[in-house]
Amino acid sequence: MTLQISLRHRFAGFALDVAFDAPPGVTALFGRSGSGKSTVINAVAGLLRPDAGTITAAGSTLFDSAHGIDLPPHRRRIGYVFQDARLFPHLTVRQNLLYGRWFVPATPDAPDFTRIVDLLGIAPLLERRPATLSGGEKSRVAIGRAILSNPRLLALDEPLAALDEARKAEILPYLERLRDDLHLPILYVSHAMAEVARLANTVVLMDAGRVTASGPTAALLSDPATAPGLGLREAGALLTVRVAAQEDDGLTRLDSASGPLWLPRVAAPTGASLRIRILAQDVMLATSRPVGISALNILPATVRDIRQGDGPGALVRLDAKGEVILARITRRSAQALALTPGLPVYAIIKALSVAQENVGSG
C-alpha cells in the first residue's frame, strides 16, 4: 500500500507545503521540532484540516480539497499512536485494546487479539487500569489499541519521545517486530535519528514545513548531501549484517557484504539479520592497511566522493564491496591523504564505538 500526500497549510507564522509518497513498510517523517511533521500526521488522521491538497491511502481518497472530500477521522481507519498514549482511564487495558472493535467491521485479515497481545508483551496487564501502568507499558498498550482497530495504516507520533532511554530500549524491539511481522504500513514521526535508522525503510526529511529530501533509509543516511540536514553528528551509514558467531571474549562476529565486523555482544541468535548504524564520526580512514592498531574492524573500500563542508570537516563516502560507509574526517586529513574518488582506502571502526541503540533487527 502506498500513501500519497500533497498538502498546503498555513498557520500564523508557519507555512506547510509538502508532497511525498510513502511506499509499503515504515516511512519516517524526520525533522526538528516545529518542522511540520505532526501537522502532516494530524492531517492524515483527519484531526487537522489542511487548506489544500490531497491524501490518498491504498487508492482511497481521505482528503481532496479540490473535490470537497474530507473523511471524518472515524471513517479514515488510521491507527494513530499518540505521544501521550491517551488511554481511556475508565476502561481496563483489555477494554482499551478492544475499543476499536466496536466500530470497525471485523475482516478475515484483521489482527488477532492474542497475537498482538503476545507480540507486545502486554498479556499480564489486561485486567489493569491505565492509571496503574508505567510509561513504557502505556505506550505498548496504545500501540496495541491502534493496531487492533484494524487500520489501513499505523501512524505513530513520536511514540518514544516521552520515555527515558531505558523505556525506549524496551519498546524499540517491539516496534521492529511489528514492522517485520505485520506488514502494516507505518508512518513514523520522529526527531531521533537512532530510532529512524533502526525502524524506517523510507525517510522523508522535513525542515520548516518543506520536504528537503526523501528516499530509502540507507541511501539517504549515507548521502553526504543530506548529512547537514540530518545534523553532522547524526550522519552515518546503515549496514545490513548477519550474526555469524558469539565469541568467547564477549564479542559478536557479524558478516557483512564488506567483510566481517566485531561488535560488543549483540543479543541476537546466530543467523539473525541486523541493521547497524555506523556514525560517520566514528570511522577513520587509512590509505594502507594499518598494523599494530587496537581497532578491530578494518574494511577495505574505495572512495566514491568527498563533500567539503564550510567548517574544518569533510564527508567521505566509501564503497565497501557494495555497502556504503560514510566517514567524517577533517579537510586537512583529506588533503594529507590525497583522497580522490576511486582511491582504495581502509575504513577503521572501533568495536566499542557502535552504541547498542544503533544495533537493530534488520
Binding site: 488522521a45 483527519g46 484531526l47 471524518p72 477521522p73 472515524h74 471513517r75 479514515r76 481507519r77 488510521i78 491507527g79 494513530y80 499518540f82 501521550d84 491517551r86 481511556f88 482511564p89 475508565h90 481496563t92 475499543y99 476499536g100 466496536w102 466500530f103 470497525v104 489493569r128 487500569r129 491505565p130 492509571a131 496503574t132 489499541r145 491502534a146 482497530s149
Partner: protein
C-alpha cells in the same frame, strides 16, 4: 406514623418529592446538552445563553415566577397554545410546580455538568475518533462515563434545590393543599396561622433530613463513580 403528620402534610411531602423528581429527570437531557454546548461549542449567542441559564439564580424568585406565569400561564405566550392544542395546563397544577422547580434548579445542574465536561481532555475524544467512533459514540463511550460524577452531582444538587424551591413556585402555581402545596409552601402556610410553629417544625425536620440525605447520597455516588472511572 400516619398520626404524626396530617393527610395534608403527608400530601405536601409526597408532592414535593414528586415535583423534585420529575423536575430533575425532565431537565437532565436539556441540562446536559446546554452544559456541553457551553463547555465545548463556539457559537454566536453563547454569552446570551449562559446569561439566560444563570438568570434564575440571580433574579428574585418572585420575578421568575411572574415570568413563568406570563409565559406558561393559561393566557401566557406559550401556555395558551399548550392549552388549546394539547390540553396541557401548567398554571396552578403540580406540573407547573415541577416546571418552576426545574427552571430554578437548572443553573446549578448545568454548572456542575459544565465543570465536569471541561475537565475531560478533548485529546481522549480525538483518540476515540481515530479508533473509529463517530461523535455520538465518542460521547456515549468516553465523554459520558468520564463526566458521570459531575452529572450525578448536578442532578442531586438540582433535586435538593427543587425540594426547597418556594418563591417562584408559590407565584406561578399558588399554594393549593394537595395540588400545589409543596413542603416549603406548607411550612409557610403553617407560619401564617397563630400557633402553627409546632406543626411547621415537624415539616422543617423532614426538609432537613431529606436535604441531608440527598447531599450524602450525591457525595457517596459521585465518589464511587470517580473511583471506578479513575481505576484506583
Amino acid at each position: 406514623m400516619t398520626d404524626w403528620l396530617s393527610p395534608d402534610e403527608w400530601r405536601a411531602v409526597a408532592l414535593s418529592l414528586r415535583v423534585s423528581f420529575w423536575a430533575t429527570l425532565a431537565s437532565l437531557p436539556l441540562g446536559l446538552l446546554v452544559a456541553y454546548a457551553l463547555a465545548r461549542w463556539q457559537f454566536r449567542g453563547k454569552h446570551l445563553l449562559n446569561g439566560l441559564v444563570h438568570l434564575p439564580l440571580i433574579l428574585p424568585p418572585v420575578v421568575t415566577g411572574y415570568l413563568l406565569l406570563m409565559t406558561f400561564g393559561r393566557r401566557g405566550g406559550i401556555g395558551q397554545y399548550l392549552d388549546q392544542w394539547f390540553g396541557i395546563v401548567l398554571a396552578f397544577r403540580w406540573t407547573g410546580a415541577a416546571l418552576a422547580a426545574a427552571v430554578m434548579a437548572f443553573p446549578l445542574m448545568v454548572r456542575a455538568m459544565r465543570l465536569a465536561i471541561e475537565a475531560v481532555d478533548p485529546k481522549l475524544e480525538q483518540a476515540a475518533a481515530t479508533l473509529g467512533a463517530s461523535r455520538p459514540w465518542v460521547f456515549a463511550t468516553v465523554t459520558l462515563p468520564l463526566i458521570l460524577p459531575g452529572v450525578i452531582a448536578g442532578a442531586i444538587l438540582a433535586f435538593a434545590k427543587a425540594m426547597g424551591e418556594f418563591g417562584a413556585t408559590i407565584t406561578f402555581v399558588s399554594n393549593i393543599p394537595g395540588q400545589t402545596q409543596t413542603l416549603p409552601s406548607a411550612i409557610y402556610a403553617f407560619l401564617q396561622v397563630p400557633g402553627g410553629e409546632a406543626n411547621a417544625a415537624r415539616l422543617v425536620w423532614i426538609a432537613i433530613v431529606i436535604a441531608m440525605a440527598a447531599l450524602l447520597l450525591s457525595e457517596w455516588v459521585a465518589r464511587a463513580v470517580a473511583r471506578r472511572i479513575s481505576g484506583q
